[in-house]
Symmetry: C2
Subunit: 336 residues, 2 copies
């Protein structure tokens, strides 16, 4: 059984969509148990009308809520009875294998490190979402957890990202590339120039060199390594350019009677095709390298995304990702 602590109070659609996601998850998999953490009366209200296996959904009362705008470190330290801190403690004490939240990214990142803690040897835990490409999806590490990271951090991001892609997505020998502003080794800023030879020398990854941002959406690499500021820009620009283009496509098709009729005819196919290019379709972003799994899902997550993220936790546990990360990090440490 995989036990998942779920932040019932986090995200734009909490608690209704979160609770619904939990119900859908336990229906979809008999191996999942969900601990709904948050204000008991609100959670119970959402649950009453529904039928589900009561042995596999448990409510854990938490009286406080960490808001999106709160400074994360302060919030984690002060709000001991918040849904995020209580849920993280369930992971820390071993009751749960994983924590899932659509709430404050900052609080999830800080809480993950302060409450659950890092795997021995891991210097920084990166946030690693899957981003859509023409060939499927690539893992973007780090998309926002550690700004101004050091070269040694990026090498670990590459190693942990490779374990994830190989075992969760089943991609053998995943191609690792570092985001750069040119294909040649001598290109780049100080961080990339210093990191490049370290990645080249790292024995346990399939490093293919630099990747220019224009080649990320074509799926040229499976693990895209970068510092968190750059990663965050990539993730958010994906969303921004995608949104603007889809809006442009829609508006263009409304300009004449002819195009309007055409639009009706292409709509179903277009909707289906563009679905694969939406970030939300690719589940939550794990914070790699912690003693337990911590997953941040989009603030706008609906029930289906919550369900998918819970099922993702099952794969993560069954494939023993953390055991494999421990091995690769320890091996690297002893070889130094």
């Amino acid at each position: 059984m995989v036990n998942v602590a779920l932040d019932a109070m986090g995200g734009d659609n909490a608690p209704a969509a979160i609770v619904q996601g939990a119900i859908d998850a336990v229906k979809a998999s008999s191996e999942v148990k969900v601990f709904l953490v948050g204000k008991e009366e609100l959670i119970r209200k959402e649950l009453t009308a529904c039928s589900y296996d009561e042995k596999r959904i448990e409510i854990v009362d938490a009286r406080e809520v960490i808001e999106m705008a709160e400074p994360p470190v302060m919030a984690i330290r002060k709000k001991k009875d918040s849904s995020i801190v209580r849920a993280l403690q369930l992971v820390k004490e071993g009751t749960c294998d994983a924590f899932v939240s659509a709430g404050s990214s900052g609080a999830v990142l800080v809480g993950g490190q302060l409450v659950v803690g890092r795997i021995k040897g891991v210097e920084r835990p990166p946030l690693a979402p899957l981003i859509p490409t023409l060939k499927g999806a690539s893992l973007l590490v780090d998309c926002g957890a550690n700004v101004d990271a050091r070269p040694s951090h990026l090498v670990q991001f590459a190693q942990m990202g490779s374990v994830y892609m190989e075992n969760v997505l089943g991609i053998a020998n995943p191609r690792v590339a570092i985001v750069n502003i040119g294909a040649e080794e001598e290109k780049g800023n100080a961080l990339v120039k210093e990191t490049f030879p370290l990645l080249k020398a790292a024995s346990q990854i399939n490093f293919i060199g630099s990747i220019e941002a224009r080649d990320i959406p074509t799926g040229k690499a499976d693990v895209i390594v970068c510092e968190a500021f750059v990663g965050n820009v990539i993730l958010k620009l994906y969303e921004g350019v995608g949104g603007a283009l889809i809006q442009t496509v829609k508006q263009s098709m409304m300009t004449s009677l002819r195009s309007k009729i055409g639009a009706l005819m292409v709509k179903p196919a277009l909707k289906e095709g563009l679905k694969a290019f939406q970030l939300e379709e690719h589940g939550g972003a794990p914070l790699l390298g912690l003693n337990g799994l911590v997953v941040k899902t989009h603030g706008s997550s609906k029930a289906v995304e919550i369900k998918n993220t819970i099922l993702q936790c099952q794969t993560f546990k069954n494939q023993d990702i953390n055991g494999k990360i421990k091995k690769i990090i320890v091996k690297e440490e002893t070889s130094l």
Copy 2:
């Protein structure tokens, strides 16, 4: 008369498309004279079949060509008789007002600084392309000239970018924003945190704060300030996500007979609508802050882009952009 030195040997479609662009430009404007710099016999061959005002197209023979893969500093120093160096010298000596090239970015950037030189007081000249948004276009400074820039450089980028947008695009009081990973002032990496208060204090710009990458395509700011590594990622990801999405749209519409028929009906409107979202539609990128105008156009530029870039040089000169940049930089220096 505006005299433009044009690198006839640079870009994927040189010299044919470049020469054609020059002919189209002198036809479109009676105020333009073009100096075609490169191998005379090749240029002459392209010109023979065409009719044009011979007083306004002049060939300047240059026997060497700087290739795309050459290390820029070495190439500029050694190849004194290259089309890029010879054309830059025409600007340096005052024969020409502007230099336009679709050739090696590195060589244009290095050559611009080494041969033409910076305006007194300008610390670093940024490369500043216009990028498409839902509201028109924004200026991205810097998209690749100065990696690992300092805060004071970014403040000058904001000032020079404002002059450009106000005078070339006619946007009164252009909104300036710094690329960041959150909207709050305390967010960001070390560079952004240090630059933010300086931009806030700068008197001659309309600084509106941070911009997240997702808001760039919506046109939330007119001048987007960032360090060159981040700017290059933004520019290239625009291209990459745009290309991948358009490919996805096309493929989706080919999946059924119904969608194929619809595709025929929406195609003209779609083509027109998406045109505005293509980087090539927005001309070349000027290197701001040099003693003369240096413009880099896309390597894949066709005649129409070369023509538009030459006409852009006319606006740049007529609006006395460099005179205005000198004033704003000197004023800032004396006020310190």
